[in-house]
Every structure is written in C-alpha cells, then in structure tokens.
C-alpha cells in the first residue's frame, strides 16, 4: 500500500526543471486524474497524465446485465448530463431491434437532451470562471441547475443520475407541473445567463487570462479524434446532431457555433453560444408539440415497454410481457450496431454486439473525454502553469467518462 505515486527518473536531481505532481486529488482538477508536470520556472515543458483512478469496469458490468439494467450504468458516464447518455442508449437498442417511436416522443427527448446540455455547459463555464477567480458567476448560475433538476424530478423522479425514459419512450407523460416548470425555466434562465455573460464575456481580466491559453489547431484536433465543443472551438463544424440526425433533430433549425483559435476563450464562447442555441431548440420543440396528440408518450412495443398495470392484472399477454421484461428475459436479435449521439462533450458512441441472449455480448462506450484528453499534453506545452490549469478545466474532463 506504500506505492510511490511519483516515479522520478534517474537524473531527477541533476536536471534544471522541477517535477510537479498535480495529484489525483486536487481542488483545481475537477475529477480524479493525475498529471506529473515538468516545469521550468513557470513554463510547462511536458506532462504525463495518469488516469484510471475511478475505473469502474462499466463494459464488463454491462455484459452481465439485461438491457434495461444498463441504463443506470450509462447515467454514470457523464453524470453532469446524464439524460443524453440514457437516451443515446435507448436509441441504440431501438435501432437494433427496429422500434420506431412516435414524433411526440422524439420532441420530448429533444427537450430533455437540450436541458441536459445546458446543465453541463453551465457547470463547465462557471468552473472556468472559478479557475480564473470569478466565483460570483458560479454561485449565481448553479441555482438554475437546481431548476433543471426539478424538471427531471417531475418526469423521472431523480435529480442527477436520472435513468430517464424506456425503450420506446418515457415512463410517464409530462405532467402539467413539468410543463409549468419548463416554461418558467425558459422565462427566467435567459436573463440570468445574459447577466453571467455580461460579467465575463468582455471582461478584460478574463479575456487576457483566457485568450491564447491552451490553443488547439484544427489539424491536431482531427488527428486526436476530438469531438464536441472542443473541436468546434478549433474551427471544425462537426456536430453529430447535424451529420447523422437522430430523434428528429433534422426538423429543428439551429446554428453550430465555431471558433477560430481553439484556445480557452473560444471554448468558453462556443459553450455560451451553444446554450443559446439549445434554448432556441427547446422553444421550437414546444411550438411543434402543440400540434401533436398530447396523450402519446411511448411507442406501442409490448416486448420492451412495460404494459399498464390494469392490463397486467386482467390480460394474460400483458402479464407475460411484464414478467419477461422485469426478469430481463427479453430476447434481442443478434446483430452489431454502432450508434452515436452528440453529448455535451462530443460524440458519445455505443458499439453493441448482441448474440441473441438476454445480456449484450460486448458493449463498448465511445467516451469523448477519454479520447480527447490525449491532446492535453500537446496543448499546454510551452505555456504557463496557470494556463495549464485553465486549459484543463476548459476542456471539460468529467472523470466518470474518462475512466468508465
């Protein structure tokens, strides 16, 4: 148990640079990962990241669980925007099995996913503010995350790790209270976000801190398979919602904000603008929902979607379906599928191989944070130490998604 966590090389004492351990537990790194930095004064020469401090073996656990029981596992990948992972998993299995969901379900899913994206971007941007010393923004906008949590609670009962939805739709229709809360959120949040932007966007200290820190060129971003806001800040407009639309995203009209230099300021601004786009999408979804039948909230797939209790007590087929779903004996046809959704950090992919049994044969999560954290040593090379800390929080590494 007394393993030394810092492996110093042979000539360590003779060299001019200092070895600094930005250890697994550190107040400025938001998550559990270690960076051993070589610094010369204030300049970072190189760094060696170590991850795996929160490896929970999701892929191995997924091979033991029936398909429904994997949804709570997907929650815990990117826990700041858990509904996106859940809905992405449901979309994967629906594509494999061939379930087509009604339009209204698609639009409801879009609303939930965009709310989750807003929640994740709120965390990332306010934490960039905290790392530069601007604590006010953080304490102010975190209140709106509570409002988003209240909306989730109305729909699925839980705040953070939501386990929202079922294969084919949602577990219950959105209540009037939920609609009121969504309307209230859309009324009040834009004002608060405008205030947050006024605090930081054109703030001279913030701009001088952030511009030029941790720059990422588009060639490097594409070479390291970066996706999401980090890639868009570098200048490449790749968004899975536009490239391979899922859940009726093609019906919505939104812009993709793109940056130019890929530094911390661009990433901050891209996330800011994505929040405005998400608010626009939710507004459009609410408009479109007015024309659809409000009682539809799931597809008619009794093999996967739990039947209503009154049918379970009276009809035989409903009882059998209920039993099979709860005991996890639903048979999924053999097949191999890769499906991707646009998470808050990039392309969240699910590679599922089913061999016809009740549990997946192999489930691999394409986790964006894991893939783009590789470029962190490249973007801080030659920069100052404080820029390195700022770059780390601006690329939004979420430890659950890093290690899975």
């Amino acid at each position: 148990m007394e393993r030394n966590h810092i492996q110093l090389s042979e000539e360590s004492l003779a060299k001019q640079s200092t070895t600094l351990n930005l250890g697994p537990t550190h107040p400025a790194t938001h998550g559990v990962f270690q960076n051993i930095l070589e610094v010369d004064g204030e300049r970072v020469l190189s760094t060696e990241p170590t991850i795996g401090y929160i490896h929970r073996a999701f892929e191995k656990i997924a091979e033991r669980r029936p398909y429904y029981q994997i949804t709570p596992l997907t929650d815990r990948l990117n826990y700041c925007s858990a509904p996106i992972n859940n809905i992405g998993w449901h979309l994967t299995v629906e594509k494999l099995v061939g379930i087509s969901v009604p339009k209204r379900v698609d639009y409801l899913r879009v609303i939930i996913m965009e709310l989750a994206r807003i929640a994740d971007h709120i965390v990332c941007n306010s934490v960039i503010g905290v790392d530069t010393g601007a604590l006010t923004g953080f304490t102010y906008v975190f209140q709106y995350r509570e409002k988003i949590y209240e909306i989730y609670e109305e729909i699925c009962g839980s705040r953070l790790t939501t386990n929202i939805g079922r294969f084919g739709g949602f577990e219950r229709n959105f209540t009037d209270v939920a609609w009121d809360k969504i309307d209230a959120f859309l009324r009040e949040f834009p004002k608060a976000w405008k205030e947050f932007e006024d605090l930081l966007n054109r703030n001279r200290i913030f701009m001088e801190r952030c511009q030029g820190a941790g720059p990422l060129t588009p060639e490097m971003a594409l070479a390291y398979s970066v996706t999401g806001p980090n890639l868009r800040a570098a200048g490449v407009d790749f968004d899975v919602r536009v490239a391979t639309p899922y859940s009726s995203y093609e019906d919505f009209d939104f812009k993709i904000p793109v940056g130019s230099t890929g530094d911390v300021y661009d990433r901050f601004m891209v996330r800011n603008m994505e929040i405005w786009e998400s608010l626009g999408i939710i507004q459009q979804a609410l408009e479109k929902l007015k024309d659809l039948d409000p009682s539809v909230f799931h597809a008619d797939v009794p093999e996967f979607y739990l039947p209503e209790k009154k049918d379970v007590y009276t009809k035989m087929e409903a009882l059998i379906y209920h039993f099979k779903i709860i005991m996890g004996e639903t048979e999924i046809l053999p097949g191999e599928i890769y499906h991707a959704v646009e998470g808050a950090n990039g392309e969240v992919g699910y590679y599922l191989i089913s061999d016809g049994g009740r549990t997946p044969y192999r489930l691999h999560f394409r986790r964006p944070c894991f893939i783009y954290y590789q470029m962190y040593p490249e973007i801080i090379k030659g920069g100052l130490l404080s820029d390195a800390i700022l770059a780390l929080s601006s690329i939004n590494v979420i430890a659950g998604e890093l290690d899975a």
């Binding site: 795996g52 656990i61 033991r64 494999l96 390291y224 970066v226 490239a243 890769y338 991707a340 192999r362």
Partner: protein, 170 residues
Amino acid sequence: MSLTYENLRQVLSDKFGDSAVYEESFGMLSVTVPSAQILKLLQFLYENEGMGFRFLSDLSGVHYPERQGEEFCVVYHLHNLVENVRLRVKTFVPAEKPDVFTATKVFPGANWMERETYDFFGINFVGHPDLRRILNADEMDYFPMRKEYTLEDPQRTDKDDEMFGRGGSV
C-alpha cells in the same frame, strides 16, 4: 465518383481482392481484412483521393473464445467528415499471438484507445510508442475483459460464487 457503399466496395475489392470480407447492417458497412493488411487498409482509406477517411471515431476489441484461431477482434470505426460516411473495419488475430500493427502512425488519437484495448484484452499493438496499462492498476497481471475472467475480484473472501449466481451448493 461519390462515396457510396457500392463504390467503396468496388474500390476496395480492386485493391485488396478476396482477402477483404464485406458485411452491411444497420446502415453501416463493415470490412474485415487479415491482420497483415490492416495498416495498409487504414493508410489507403486515409490517403487515397476518393476515400478521405481521416477521422478515427473509435477503436475497441472483442473476444470471441469460440472462434478458434481468431479469438480477438480489433474494430475500428472511421468517419469521412466531408462526405459524411461511416465505415467499420475489423481484423481478427489468434489468441496465441495477438499482434496487430498500431494505427498511431495514421491516427495519433489511437494511442490511448490502443492502450485501453491492450489493458482489457492483452492485444499487442506492434510499434506502439508506449504500450502499458491505462485504466487498471499497473500491478494487475491479467486482462480483465477476456471472457474467462469474472466480473468480481477473484480474491474476494466475503462473497462466494453462490451469491454471484454461479453454482455453489444449491
């Protein structure tokens, strides 16, 4: 020539002949090649004028213990961002000598993805700059995602097989 799956099959058959096996399911084409040709295929897909598969979405491994002589499979998911076309490339290697050429020369982002695949399955990526464990503890001496190992820690003393639903006295 637009990049549809038929044209892609045509071009790849011309270049690689019978060694490539094709399969299309759920809107994505899978190409399986022998492990000796995997690097050539990835380079062809990257550099060739009409191909342009310059983005590696995902790299993972699968263990098929029943397939004798071809137990491990390495799966690459490629994406052509300009034409918006996805492709899956697979290669099989035997368990006695699980060697695959590294893709880091073509895609630097494959570095950690290959380390993760090595960590879980023990597939040796020939030519990788730094092939060591990434997610598990360095002292671990087995490759946990292989099918013969259980999910739980083998050294558990407080729970036994019966509690995990595997045999026991009942």
